[in-house]
Every structure is written in structure tokens, then in C-alpha cells.
Symmetry: C2
Subunit: 243 residues, 2 copies
DNA sequence: CAGTGGTCTAGACCACATC
DNA sequence: ATGTGGTCTAGACCACTGT
């Protein structure tokens, strides 16, 4: 694909206009037919662009009335964390230079039953089994247990693990990250948590278990991440019915 | 609206076929043009129906190849918890008869600064301030701190609070629940948590803070819910780019 | 009533996967 | 080369909100 689809370009343009205050919260938003004229396109395409903004919670529509920018706070995060990029630690923090990693364990082995099922593997397709301590600005940030199929993410080594696996996948393997299933829970700190997150014995842990897919829908990561309860929270926006 | 939009009817039909095994995971899915013929509609409408299924993680598409049912586990929850209905405790559990509530506090007062901002209120528009212990099958399930504008949700009383506010809003007020912002974190158990969730002093708590909107995008609830760490986890599905 | 967004059509052409 | 999904058009009509 040489050129981005028109509706994504329009979505980005509208997003910028919201950011720079061209369209103010609560106030107007040009009607769809006007936008179609402006962008030299059809109304259907404009609607598709607006749909993107609805999905990330920037605007909402009211039949018969118009389209409006959301006033609500909590909104700050939506500009930097697009829908598909709040999945990896490095991306979560945003600034890659602030993130560093200590490798606690790194081995390649055969998958167990759960890994075979969730990563869709046969018994002889091997997985990386990785434990990393992630630090932001030198402070412990997360403890990660990651399993990835070797066949799907070939070439992982210590250099990659010290930096960002997601970055490696996108730049070197030229793959894009797709959907993800996440389960979020609270847990008691394990001994490893106490050690690598520098937390107390009775501190709670925010635990995130997820299966992540590439854009071609091949699962490539099964992971469990532990966060200090006082350093991280997870923000979710649930659109109502996207029409 | 007398009749449901055609694309939603098609989406439901396809969903049922996935459930009853007509379309098997990994296996085929009729091509969009064929489905358009079958449902006597245009391909655009069929695509809109499929979009719904993608959003809840039931299927995925691959350009040039076809549409496929997701194999991955974790899938069970998607049939019962539709996108827009995992917000209230009563709905979360599913079976209303199993849920009961003890009212700990119920008063009406003027809003503080945070409430005014997040619920979009003027200083003289009053809010309900409610604390409830929620039980499932008689066992403590959650401790809820809820603030709602009186003007938006009129007529709340002890009878409603003993049952379900969401049910009241939908049946008596004839409003529908829309979008929601949620922040999920882990926390130490407070004294109230220990008392009303019957948990130990050093047990972690799963904490959910959210602002919920009606379908017309008026915010109607600002709440904080505490869950026992061993009784609840939150499942999220993040679609990649929905095209 | 006028004006808005929501649904829908019947085509067309493009990008990609598979053989 | 064929077949799939992805993008796009230029209309039409419906449902709802406001006055």
C-alpha cells in the first residue's frame, strides 16, 4: 500500500484540528456533507473517518443534532495512545530512551499445553521463555513473563530483549501488531515481585495477562506482566454502539 | 425505531451460526458477496455486520484470503458479555436473581469539584452519594461508591438501589447505557474493604474507577468499585485496526 | 418545518493471497 | 490468473432534534 486510505488521512486531519483547538469541546463540528465537500470525497468516507474518532473516544454523534467533541477529562491519554499501541511496555511509556531491561531468564524450550493452545502450536514448535525486569528512568516498572513462538518471531536475542521486542517486530520483521485479549487482575506480591519491583511483602500487584496477535492474526505473545500498584493503572475506553 | 437496522440483524444471525457450529473456527466463512446475495442486501451492509463481529473478537478478516472465526480460547465470555453490557455489577454477573445489595450510605448533596467536572454539573445541581455492598449468591462481591446527578437519574430510592440502577435506567427511564471511561488499578484493602468484602488486612483489591455515559452522551455515573482479588478479573478485547 | 446523522444501494476499482 | 477483502462513489431515503 503506497498511500494511506483517504478516510484515515481525514481522521488524522480532524484529530489534529481537535488538538489545536479548531473544533472546541461542546461546540460545533462541521456537518458530514460539508466535510465531504472540503475533502473532495463522499459522505460515506467522511463517516468512516469520524467512526475512527468515536472509537477512541474523541467525539460522539447525536442523530438529528450533530457531531461533538467530548468534554470529559481523562481525555489526555487518547492522543498519544492510539487504539492499537497500548500493548507493549515500551510503547506504553512512550519514550523508548527511558525504558531499559534486565534479562532474568532467556531460554528456548518446547511449549506446554496452555502455550500450545493459546499460541496455536504443535508440540515440536518451540517457544522463547523470557523473564525480564523493565525499568523506566532506572526505577523498577514491571516484571514480565513472556512466551513467544520461535517460528513467528525469529531472531530474538539479548540485544532485542534489552531494547523492545515490539520495535524489532515492526522494523526488522516488518510485521504489525494487531488485536489482543487481556485479563486484568490484582494479586499478592510474589517473592520475585518483591525483588524485582522493589516492593514490600504485602504490597498488591496489578497483573496483566494477555495474548497478542499480529495484524495477520497469528498469535505471537503470551505474557504476564506485574506492575507495582502505585506506579501503574490501566485505562480503557468502551465505546457504546459504534453505528 | 420500529425495526432493527439490517446490518445488526445480519450480525446477530451470523453470531448464532458461529455459536451453533455452522461456521467452524479456522474453517471457511462465506464470502461477502455470497452473504449479500443470501440476505438480499448490498455488500456494504454485510461488511458492516461483519465489522460488529470483529469488534467483539469473534472473527477476523484477511485481505485476499477470507473471513475466519477466531480459534483462540478466552472466547467464551464474548457471547454473554456484549460490548456495551459489561459495565454494571448486575449485568456483569448476568443473572439478576443472584445479586443482592446492602445499602451502607445513601444521601443527596452538592457536588465537589471533581464531580462537577466529570459529571458536567453546576455547583447547585445535586448528586446522589451512595455506598453499597454487592453480594452474589449471598457472598460479598464488591464494594461500590457511586455518584449520580439527580437531574439525570431522577427517582432513585432504596428499592432501586436494592435491585439494579442500570435496570431502572433502561426500563423506567427508558434510557440506554452508552460509552464509559474506566481506570483499573490494584490497591491495598481499606478498613471498609476488609469489613464489606470479608477480606484480610493484607489482601489486594481490584479497583475500578469509571465515568459512564448514557447513549445520548450525558454522563450519569462516577463510581469506584472494589473487588476481592480472588473473585474478579476484568477481560478486555482490543481489536487491532477495525478497517 | 428544516437540518442533522443513520442506513442502504449497486455498482467500480484496488491490494493482497493463493495457486 | 483468479478470488478474496478493502476502499470509494453519488446518490437515496429514513429517523431524530431542534425550532
Amino acid at each position: 500500500m503506497v498511500l494511506k486510505p483517504k478516510y484515515l488521512i481525514i481522521a488524522e486531519t480532524l484529530k489534529q484540528r481537535i488538538q489545536n483547538g479548531t473544533y472546541l469541546p461542546g461546540t460545533p463540528f462541521p456537518q458530514q456533507s460539508k466535510l465531504a465537500q472540503e475533502f473532495q470525497t463522499s459522505r460515506v468516507t467522511v463517516r468512516k473517518a469520524i467512526e475512527q474518532l468515536i472509537k477512541i473516544g474523541l467525539v460522539y454523534t447525536q442523530r438529528g443534532a450533530g457531531t461533538f467533541v467530548r468534554t470529559t477529562a481523562l481525555k489526555t491519554s487518547h492522543f498519544d495512545r492510539a487504539v492499537d499501541q497500548y500493548i507493549g511496555t515500551t510503547k506504553l511509556v512512550g519514550d523508548q530512551s527511558r525504558v531499559s531491561s534486565q534479562i532474568i531468564q532467556f531460554q528456548i524450550r518446547y511449549p506446554n499445553a496452555e502455550e500450545r493452545q493459546l499460541l496455536n502450536l504443535t508440540p515440536h514448535e518451540m517457544v522463547y521463555d523470557i523473564q525480564r525486569q523493565r525499568l523506566v528512568d532506572g526505577e523498577p516498572y514491571a516484571l514480565e513473563y513472556t512466551k513467544m513462538p520461535v517460528k513467528t518471531v525469529p531472531g530474538i536475542d539479548e540485544t532485542v530483549l534489552k531494547a523492545s521486542v515490539y520495535h524489532y517486530i515492526e522494523t526488522t520483521l516488518h510485521q504489525k501488531i494487531g488485536a489482543a485479549y487481556r485479563k486484568i487482575s490484582a494479586a499478592k506480591a510474589t517473592e520475585a515481585d518483591q525483588q524485582y519491583l522493589a516492593c514490600q511483602k504485602f504490597d498488591p500487584i496489578l497483573r496483566l495477562r494477555q495474548v497478542v496477535f499480529l495484524e495477520n492474526n497469528v498469535p505471537f505473545e503470551l505474557s504476564e506482566t506485574h506492575h507495582r500498584y502505585d506506579k501503574e493503572q490501566i485505562t480503557v475506553y468502551l465505546p457504546g454502539h459504534t453505528k
